[in-house]
Amino acid sequence: MKKVFVFVVVGVVLFSGALLFAADKAVPEDYDEDTYGPKDPIVWEKPVKAVVFDHKVHTMEGGLECDSCHDELFQMEAGAAQENDDFTMATLYDGGYCGACHDGSTAFASNTRCTACHIGVRGSDRLQGDAAAGKKAH
């Protein structure tokens, strides 16, 4: 119960805002990919372009464990879900994939706040631009 509460409060508050600026914020030093999942956000290209998922927002900041989503909702392989035919908004509304939590009670409903996850071609380009710039710097 406590976990759910933490998720609702922290997750809902931080999710979109933190997500928007995820690209701007440097990933903290103590970010451990084994604990929190891949560092780089996943950007889905199907069925529509430029939808983002950021592990850090959900795990490190939201308090979710790996097994909260894997392997029941999503395969471990990053971005694999987009190959499924049912990876659609309609499935989300029925509680599939992100819709398991994004149902309006655990986290904001899938049919609200579209641009929180749909960062758009503009947002995706910006993210990739930053990633490229970041790689260059290393």
Binding site: G17, L20, F21, V48, K49, T115, A116, I119, G120
Partner: protein, 250 residues
């Protein structure tokens, strides 16, 4: 002519002039002055009477039928840019130009949080189009049947005044046709061939773009902009262009 005949003739002095006739005469005078002042007076007379009490015209006062317009359900736009891709493909838009695009704005949600709003933009097919008024060779005009602002590339001299005059950045110079190019609601590429929707509308997966005849109360565009409790807005209303692209959030 005898003096008696003369008396029987109708007087031609000013007292017999009906006020309607006076007005007509004055109008001719004004029109001539307007011509000489280079349209600075004429330009005040809009292409069609523009009813602009609020941004949505009163029902029944649409100058055209079909009066094509588009309603953009702004908050649903996710910038997937399928509309742009469809437009490019359908209308042979070169890589350096666009007929429609997506803008992005940020709205603060308080503290350091904000939300992103994507704003699809295209030609607003204004009722009082500044671009049409300024073109020296009438290379662009409002289609008499549909109200769509169209271009005849072969008349364009490339002075780019229409680009300067457009409040919506809807025009660009297309090198391939040596003329300014712009959105025509796919009149040429689709509507004239029996399609009912422009390419961008058909391509949109989120039902953001709704296209139709505003003069038809049964059309979806009519119902959306006349729905109760709905806030309808347009871009840059202060320019007086009376646009036909409306934005809503419901």
């Amino acid at each position: 002519m005898k003096i008696d005949d003369l008396e029987q003739m109708e007087s031609e002095d000013l007292s017999t002039l009906s006020s309607a006739e006076r007005r007509r005469f004055l109008k001719i005078g004004l029109a001539v002055t307007g011509m000489y002042l280079g349209g600075s007076i004429l330009s005040l007379i809009s292409v069609k009477n523009a009813h602009a009490a609020g941004v949505v015209p009163e029902a029944g006062t649409y100058p055209y039928n079909p009066h094509y317009s588009m309603v953009l359900r702004e908050h649903l736009c996710i910038d997937c840019e399928r509309c742009k891709e469809a437009c490019v493909k359908t209308n042979h838009v070169p890589s350096y130009g666009f007929r429609t695009t997506i803008l992005e704005k940020r709205r603060s949600l308080g503290e350091d949080k904000s939300e992103t709003i994507f704003v699809p933009v295209l030609c607003n097919h204004c009722n009082r189009p500044p671009c049409v008024r300024v073109c020296p060779t009438t290379a662009t005009w409002k289609d008499e049947k549909t109200g769509i602002v169209v271009m005849d590339p072969s008349r364009c001299i490339g002075c780019k005044t229409c680009m300067a005059a457009c409040p919506y950045n809807a025009r660009y110079f297309k090198e391939e046709t040596r003329a300014v190019d712009k959105c025509d609601f796919c009149l040429q590429s689709r509507l004239s061939k029996g399609e009912t929707n422009p390419a961008c509308v058909e391509a949109c997966p989120a039902d953001v773009r709704v296209f139709g005849n505003l003069a038809d109360p049964k059309s979806r565009v009519f119902q959306l902009v006349h729905a109760p409790d709905t806030m309808v807005w347009v871009l840059r209303p202060e320019t007086g262009a009376v646009p036909n692209v409306f934005y809503i959030n419901s």
